[in-house]
Symmetry: C2
Subunit: 458 residues, 2 copies
């Protein structure tokens, strides 16, 4: 008998931080664990090497007329710092009050385990299920999936034959309101490094003569937003997709109040661009965010120094139909225009991701052309969420990014059905990440019903 919680614990114990080279062994362990578990439930497993971290591609073959679903997930996780704020050890899964704590519990090891368990249990009951299934599990999602597009190109002929992609790497506002994610924001990340003097200087002997690079970077960063919260880059909002009425209507059904959300975040007040509620802003608007800043003396006490360098790490979240390359050009141009000439600077490209939107059947005034099997899957999902969770799902775009979803659309021409499974309190990308085990059990039930429904009708 397949025990999903025990398997998830095993999975979390592999410290698979993809962005940090010192976690090489953890990455290999997580990859081998996933490959092993899929082989054990009868899949043909292929490990696909890339320049960085391999993908696990596992196939359940079948007759050509059987529907074919691709299940996506990732075995890599975010870094754990600031580690001092964790109440449990990040890579020692700990069950407390119906939650499993550990880095990756919710992003994405738990939700991936939901679908693995669903397939395992479904095939245990019905070994002859007329459904082709391909697990496509990568190890570079938290790095922006640099190897994924090349992988898609290489396996395009085989994978483009599938009907749709099924995954859970998105969130839900509460256990009582499951969200099927219909859109994701894109990404454009870079570092900006500013240099003043050739070396650190004594702030007494030389203070008042040159522009401090911290001052230059502060002035530049301060220029990037209007006082009302909008990003202050010429043309930044030019390609932003108009919001459809059904989208605002779905959003109005959200149980969460703005006050609840504010308290959850723990801020004195919101700071959103005019004309958008916080719930809208996070889904329908792009952002320019500072993920990190550093320069000069950061230790105890004081050091009266003018540092030679300072840096800031910047990320833009993009919405349909913004193009990361165009946004990059515009942001870089604004920086070139605004950076004072008494300092020098350099820009370091980080990763990018295209934003994505899929319109569920029967919603839009301008319905897209969709495969009947995807429409059947959406129908089964709607019904099974209503039964298992006790309420119909909401169809919402969300603020996060899964850049590969847009790549899949672009290369394979496949849409993705995204069943949200993690909760706000799961603390993704933050200390004390956890996964709600009741949501996990319900998710397994929904995933089984959807897969059974997609298969049975054939």
């Amino acid at each position: 008998m397949f025990d999903p919680v025990e398997k998830l614990k095993e999975f979390i114990r592999h410290p698979s931080v993809s962005t940090d080279p010192s976690f090489k062994a953890g990455m290999a362990g997580a990859k081998d664990f996933v490959a092993g578990i899929l082989a054990s439930i009868g899949f043909e497993v292929e490990v696909v090497n890339t320049d960085m971290h391999p993908l696990v591609l596992a196939r359940r073959q079948g007759r050509p007329e059987w529907p074919h679903v691709i299940i996506y997930g990732h075995y890599d996780v975010q870094p754990v710092d600031p580690v001092a704020l964790w109440k449990t050890k990040p890579f020692e899964p700990t069950e407390i009050d119906g939650r499993l704590y550990g880095r990756g519990a919710a992003d994405n090891k738990g939700p991936l385990m939901v679908h693995i368990a669903a397939v395992a249990q479904l095939l245990e009951r019905n070994p002859k299920l007329p459904l082709r299934i391909t697990f496509m599990i990568e190890g570079e999602e938290e790095m922006g999936s640099p190897s994924f597009p090349a992988f898609l190109d290489r396996y395009k002929e085989e994978l483009a034959q599938a009907d749709f992609v099924f995954l859970s790497d998105t969130g839900i506002p509460s256990e009582n309101q499951v969200v099927v994610t219909c859109g994701l924001r894109g990404l454009m990340l870079f570092d900006l490094e500013v240099t003043g003097s050739r070396g650190d200087l004594h702030s007494g002997l030389h203070g008042g003569v040159i522009r401090n690079p911290i001052q230059a970077i502060a002035e530049l960063c301060a220029s990037l937003h209007h006082a009302d919260g909008r990003v202050n880059i010429p043309g930044f909002y030019e390609d932003v997709l108009e919001v459809e009425p059904w989208e605002r209507q779905e959003l109005a059904k959200l149980d969460t109040s703005e006050e609840q959300y504010r308290q959850f975040l723990g801020v004195p007040s919101f700071h959103t661009p005019p004309g958008f509620t916080p719930f809208e802003a996070v889904r329908f608007l792009p952002t320019l965010e500072f993920n990190g800043i550093g320069g000069g003396y950061q230790g105890e006490g004081t050091k009266t120094v003018i540092p030679s360098k300072a840096f800031v790490k910047i990320s833009c979240r993009l919405v349909p139909n913004q193009d990361p390359r165009r946004i990059r050009e515009r942001v870089y141009q604004a920086i070139a225009d605004r950076m004072p000439k008494d300092v020098t600077y350099r820009l370091v490209d980080q990763h990018q991701g295209i934003p994505y939107i899929v319109v569920p059947p029967g919603r839009s005034n301008t319905p897209p052309d969709q495969s009947p099997i995807l429409a059947r899957a959406f129908g089964a999902l709607d019904a099974s969420v209503a039964e298992v969770f006790g309420r119909q799902p909401l169809y919402l775009r969300e603020g996060g990014s899964v850049p590969i979803i847009a790549d899949i659309k672009r290369v394979l021409r496949l849409d993705s059905m995204m069943l949200g499974l993690f909760l706000p309190e799961d603390n993704l990308h933050a200390p004390n990440e956890s996964f709600n085990l009741r949501v996990m059990r319900k998710g397994i039930e929904v995933s089984q019903r959807v897969l059974a429904a997609v298969a049975a009708d054939k």
Copy 2:
């Protein structure tokens, strides 16, 4: 025979970083070294305990009618980071091409050793020299000398009997242009910490809803300067002393050109307030400088986080007659007025120091009332610098701070005669600090002549 270079090497080997508690043993070692060396040349040594690091007070007693000079120095040094940029080990003194490399070589162990060696050699030649000498050597200068005022209060009765204070803890532009420092900037330091959400947040799931604390701190910092380089705090310049014509005339004698200074700093261009050359700005104007900034993810690659907190370390250099307490009030008020209400913040006071000015005899149109022994000392200094270094010294204010000089004036009512001895290329407060050993030898000769002249006339 007293070997000043060997003694200095011994001194540097004690890693006496006063601001970092992990250097406790190095602090004790440096203090014992100084106490030992002064005892060995016949001084009565008293170790004066404080709440932090003890002072060494060493006396050469004598008849009441003998002149009495206090020699000041400090045995503590700056932190060594970024340690990766050092070409030698910071606490392993290394002689290369006539320079001695090591943390503290120039600030202040080398210059202090100049005066110790001068006294040692002078007393060796003339054991009956009619001069009272008190060494007053502290261990908290790089922390802002928190215990020094209380020490002065405690020893006020004895120390106020002295005629003047002699020290070398200031700089000279080149070996051919010795500067007698006639003014020092004051200091007012603090940390500003801004908090947004109660914990770090995923920049996708929540980006666009709150003000990022890095953004808040960047906007605040950007507001603190005008575009022309002046500090943008109401009333900041109100008490700034008018510059006297003789001061600009002295400065005009400087050999260094602005272009040479620019190349030394390694900046594309200067950034000074209007109406002031760089040489003037650094001496006659106050500053507001960012010594360090930090927040969010600073590691390799990316982490798409909205950090909960960000901080900046700020220091103001002050000129006569600015009052650090008034400046603190004004800066704090500006921050309170400008900080957006959707974040919270706190201010942490660091140390302060009053600015100082001493007008050398015969210079000012409004000459101050000075002791004849100080006037004699200034005359001997002028003559001996002219002979030993081959050129008369310049009398200039400088940009650095020795906060205790103002404390000495305030508590003991004594002026200080500051013989500059370190060079721009000595890299104070920065990696690869060193001291020019030829300057050291000449400094010893000058110090001997001054002390002999002050004594002999009696």
